[in-house]
Symmetry: none
Subunit: 123 residues, 4 copies
Amino acid sequence: MFKIDLKNRKPIYEQVIENFRRLIISGRLKEGDRVPSVRDMARELNVNPNTVQKAYRELEARKYFYTVLGQGSFISAPPEETGEIDALLEQLHAIVRELIFRGKSKDEIVIFIEETGGQNDKR
Amino acid sequence: MFKIDLKNRKPIYEQVIENFRRLIISGRLKEGDRVPSVRDMARELNVNPNTVQKAYRELEARKYFYTVLGQGSFISAPPEETGEIDALLEQLHAIVRELIFRGKSKDEIVIFIEETGGQNDKR
Amino acid sequence: MFKIDLKNRKPIYEQVIENFRRLIISGRLKEGDRVPSVRDMARELNVNPNTVQKAYRELEARKYFYTVLGQGSFISAPPEETGEIDALLEQLHAIVRELIFRGKSKDEIVIFIEETGGQNDKR
Amino acid sequence: MFKIDLKNRKPIYEQVIENFRRLIISGRLKEGDRVPSVRDMARELNVNPNTVQKAYRELEARKYFYTVLGQGSFISAPPEETGEIDALLEQLHAIVRELIFRGKSKDEIVIFIEETGGQNDKR
DNA sequence: GTGGTCTAGACCACT
DNA sequence: GTGGTCTAGACCACC
């Protein structure tokens, strides 16, 4: 499904969250899909089950997962985190500023964006 | 110059680094400018001098500062770390994908980028 | 593992770095080997944990170590910093020039180099 | 004559010493040559006279200079610092080991040494 | 005055 | 258990 980079400074549980977010955003996981159990996931990633547990708990709190008792966890509908878009736009802003500082023109950046792959079509 | 947000989960020394990066990228600090001494900065931000020094040390390692023994630290020329731009473009990519997932069109994103402030003109 | 020379003018943390570099270069520490925890190392060397951490941090920045959160630090693959070899050759150059100035012939120097121990064979 | 690199972490007074050593070893300064006065040197290098003073004092202590009262300082005969050669050979050793670690063969190193310029002929 | 090193000891997050 | 952050305060070298 995905791999954990132990050398990465980002905590493992955050990497798990990010990877699920990525899979959902890219459309490879869709609403209603079942996600592996905590134990299976932990075995597959070769990490401590507590770590996976922590990631799942947060994914559920952030409404990416929902849990059916005795059946497991499932992907829920795309959540609408308030302020999320504004935060993304602010990040975009910061990166664009830095690219300009490093010599790129806005035109070059726009061209780069136009090239961004249409993974969105898979939904 | 700037303020530290103690409530923020981001470590103080990283906040210091980010703030200096921001000031340099925006052109408000230019090559050769002297930055406040470690002690002065610590007093101004109301943090421990060691914390400021840690930030300065890293800024120097990342080539944003250079230090003259017994005289202080100064802004150095914009670093040309290879691969840095590629990393930024990859981040840009990821954010654009997520914005599209959340319903924005590429056209909207491009318009947003065109609006990015012209802080670059001050250089 | 090694000892710190407190009388030496060289800072303790630099001595720690140099000693690890030596152990890695000589092949006694290999990729993937776990290094003692910051606390253990500090106890063994009889120095403050912060001092050891500073050394480890720099070894990580220079790509000799990598760190797994909550698990410890490990030896990473030999870094291929570009320009590193050129710098070494330049140092070699300078030393050879000085040895010649002090009366050694190139032949004597070459013989000396041939005698350099084959610690490399252990890899 | 030479320049000081303020950005360099090596103390200025040590840079002055190293530069004089280099000029003497390369043969550009010979026994009996007069060296600039402390004040002239300080003005030329754009550094504090105390700093130059400190360098000259050490060069005299290490027998590279000798001073004639009221006349200035002069280059003395090449000093025979005891143990100096052993130290150089040890440095050579360390560098060769590191070059081998980074993939160079002894043969390559020997070839490189053979190519070292014959600045020695200028004496 | 400047930066740099080191200690002692507290507290936190991750596994 | 692990590493990481931060403080308070001492001491040193360089300019």
